[in-house]
């Protein structure tokens, strides 16, 4: 009898907990549902209507997108963004893991001083570098190319990922690489054959975050790219807003959603890595 009441009380608490959580969730995810519903409404109904989803959904907003933006097909923007994102991922994985290995596994002179510098760059506002980097790339005649957007990724300037990978490498059992070293393996062998394969979770987390950051980046492409056929999805969307926003609200909302899809897809596929990666970033080791 008392077991039953305890059980009832427990499930009532569970129900209240779910109701509370769902209520917060509904508010938080409202904008996402709104953009999905809005993309299926006629332009005139998007802002004013309180219904989340239209009674009779239309696809006109999406067919409009096949006409492209300013005579440039949407696919161009996607290819450009994809190129930058994949290029960034490759660069970050190589350069950051090399630096992380050096900090975690090699005892070289000046390591602690350089490590302090690396932590310092972690907190450095990017905007201090904005103007001089622009001047540099302008002198090198690299404006309106992808080099300024990619070079830093190949030079391990994303200190956060160096830090993330380093923490992971430090927690690997030291016996492994000591055994390898006794067998006569050099650092390159240990890095490539032992440490990297064991670091897969950290590498995957870094790769996904890099992809999403590159996809969402707005300031970098805004400054460095000035021909519309080199634009990324974010810049294409901004161009759409400037040109057609009033005339074609529906198209703008549909394009906003389409621009989000790769990030949302990555999130669905890898949410474990993302959430856990985020969680461990705040904790020691």
């Amino acid at each position: 009898m008392s077991v039953l009441t305890a059980y009832r009380r427990k499930s009532a608490g569970s129900l209240a907990w779910h109701i509370g959580s769902l209520a917060v969730l509904a508010v938080v995810l409202y904008p996402v549902l709104w953009v999905i519903g809005g993309s299926l409404k006629p332009s005139s109904e998007i802002v004013g209507s309180l219904d989340l989803f239209p009674a009779s959904p239309i696809t006109k907003n999406y067919t409009r997108l096949t006409e492209g933006i300013a005579d440039i097909p949407i696919s161009t923007f996607f290819v450009n963004s994809l190129f930058l994102a994949v290029g960034s991922v490759i660069g970050v994985l190589i350069s950051c893991s090399l630096a992380a290995y050096a900090f975690a596994k090699i005892r070289f002179a000046g390591r602690n001083a350089l490590f302090a510098v690396m932590i310092g760059t972690l907190l450095l506002p990017y905007h201090v570098l904005l103007i001089p980097q622009y001047v540099l790339f302008q002198k090198l005649d690299l404006i309106n190319t992808y080099t300024p957007l990619l070079l830093g990724k190949y030079l391990a300037t994303d200190a956060f990922f160096v830090f993330l990978m380093m923490q992971f490498m430090r927690n690997l059992p030291r016996e492994l690489d000591e055994a390898a070293r006794l067998d006569g393996c050099g650092h390159l062998r240990i890095y490539w054959s032992i440490v990297l394969p064991l670091c897969r979770p950290a590498l995957i987390t870094s790769a996904i975050f890099t992809f999403i950051n590159s996809w969402n980046d707005f300031l970098g492409p805004l400054i460095y790219l000035n021909e519309p056929d080199k634009y990324t999805v974010a810049l294409g969307l901004k161009m759409f807003v400037d040109q057609d926003a009033v005339a074609d609200y529906g198209g703008m909302i549909a394009m906003s959603l389409v621009a989000l899809l790769p990030v949302l897809a990555f999130f669905m596929a890898f949410q474990r890595y993302l959430v856990d990666g985020m969680a461990t970033s705040g904790l020691k080791g």
Binding site: W17, S21, V28, L29, P31, V32, V35, V47, G48, L50, S95, L98, A99, A102, F103, A104, I106, R107, F108, N112, F115, A116, V117, I119, L123, L124, P125, H127, V128, L129, L130, I131, P132, V135, Q138, L151, G152, Y154, L155, A156, Q167, R181, L182, N216, L219, L237, V241, S256, L257, A259, L260, F267, L274, V275, M278, A279, G282, L283, K284, G285
Partner: protein, 329 residues
């Protein structure tokens, strides 16, 4: 990461190489050779990072420090003008406005965001099925929140006669969208950052999970209520995580750009009446739209100094309120 200052790779006391030295006398030579090899390997592995540091971080920082004292438009040679950029700045009403807007954004947005993050983390921190689902769902806005798409959605939601306006009318509040209202627009930007509370929430949740259950049980035996338990156990135990979130979110808030730029509307005007003209928007406007690279560099250095000071104050204050466990690394 909570102990940023303690996180240096632990000094490795014993080199494994010491084991293969044949005798006490030979050790120094072998160690020396080994040390040289290690230095070379370190340099090799670190070379991309070092090049990046010199070419893309340290070099540009020095260059922008110099440019901050010049009149420079990217094409003519920089002309040394001493402190004039700074005196111009302090007398510039648009610059003053941008400082006010940014402070509003940081001072209101960051605490609200952290409060919500902590609140939801406390709500989720129960051993129930579905927790992982909620955690992931609440985290999603942090990934998409800074995108152009969401800024566009935000502008629509807060425009005249849109959802927020209608909801206000429902509660009998003054009607009108926030986007067209110079006094309210900044709050739509604040709410956009608050909406991205998922990232600090996930970190709070991880911190809450590390609080030993025995502490709560002991407190319950002593008759401590929910509030006392939160105040005397939970809060001190997660204070390192709170410090980390506060530091990171504050630094981030100072640097908001894309959302404000899109929410602001046409170009970098961030209107109406510069209502969401955050600091970086004005920096962009002056440097890239008006070609005042020297002035923009001076602005950037002032931002760096401000962020540095805020970081220093936070680190200094942590001695008073951040509780680190004995023996923690």
């Amino acid at each position: 990461m909570t102990h940023i200052q303690d996180a240096a790779p632990e000094r490795l006391v014993k080199s494994s190489g010491a084991q293969d030295g044949p005798g006490p006398l030979a050790v120094p030579a072998a160690l020396k050779r080994r040390g040289r090899r290690e230095n070379l390997a370190g340099l090799l592995f670190l070379s991309p990072w070092v090049v990046g540091l010199l070419l893309l971080t340290a070099g540009p920082m020095l260059a922008s420090l110099y440019l901050a004292f010049t009149d420079y438009n990217l094409f003519d040679t920089p002309k040394w003008i001493g402190l004039q950029n700074f005196t111009d700045m302090f007398g510039d009403p648009r610059w003053q406005k941008s400082v006010r807007v940014t402070l509003q954004y940081v001072v209101i947005g960051t605490p609200l965001k952290l409060l919500l993050a902590l609140g939801v983390a406390l709500l989720l921190n129960q051993n129930r099925r579905g927790q992982a689902f909620y955690r992931a769902a609440f985290y999603a806005p942090s990934l998409i929140g800074a995108s152009v798409s969401i800024a566009i959605v935000w502008r629509s939601l807060f425009s005249d006669d849109a959802v927020v306006d209608r909801a206000q009318q429902l509660f009998g509040m003054e009607a009108g969208g926030w986007i067209s209202n110079p006094d309210m627009k900044i709050y739509s930007l604040v709410l956009l950052t608050v909406w991205q509370f998922g990232a600090p929430m996930v970190i709070f949740l991880a911190g809450l999970k590390q609080v030993p259950n025995e502490l709560y049980e002991a407190a319950e035996v002593d008759g401590a209520g929910t509030w006392r338990r939160f105040w005397n156990i939970t809060l001190p135990m997660i204070s390192p995580v709170l410090f980390f979130n506060l530091l990171l979110e504050t630094i981030h808030s100072f640097q908001v750009f894309g959302s404000a730029y899109i929410l602001g509307g046409q170009g970098s005007s961030c209107g109406p009446a510069d209502s969401v003209l955050v600091y970086t928007c004005y920096l962009y406007d002056q440097g890239f739209a008006n070609g005042r690279m020297g002035f923009a560099s001076a602005m950037a250095w002032l931002l760096l100094i401000t962020v540095g000071l805020v970081t220093a104050v936070l680190f200094w204050s942590q001695k008073r309120w951040v509780h680190y466990e004995e023996g923690a690394r």
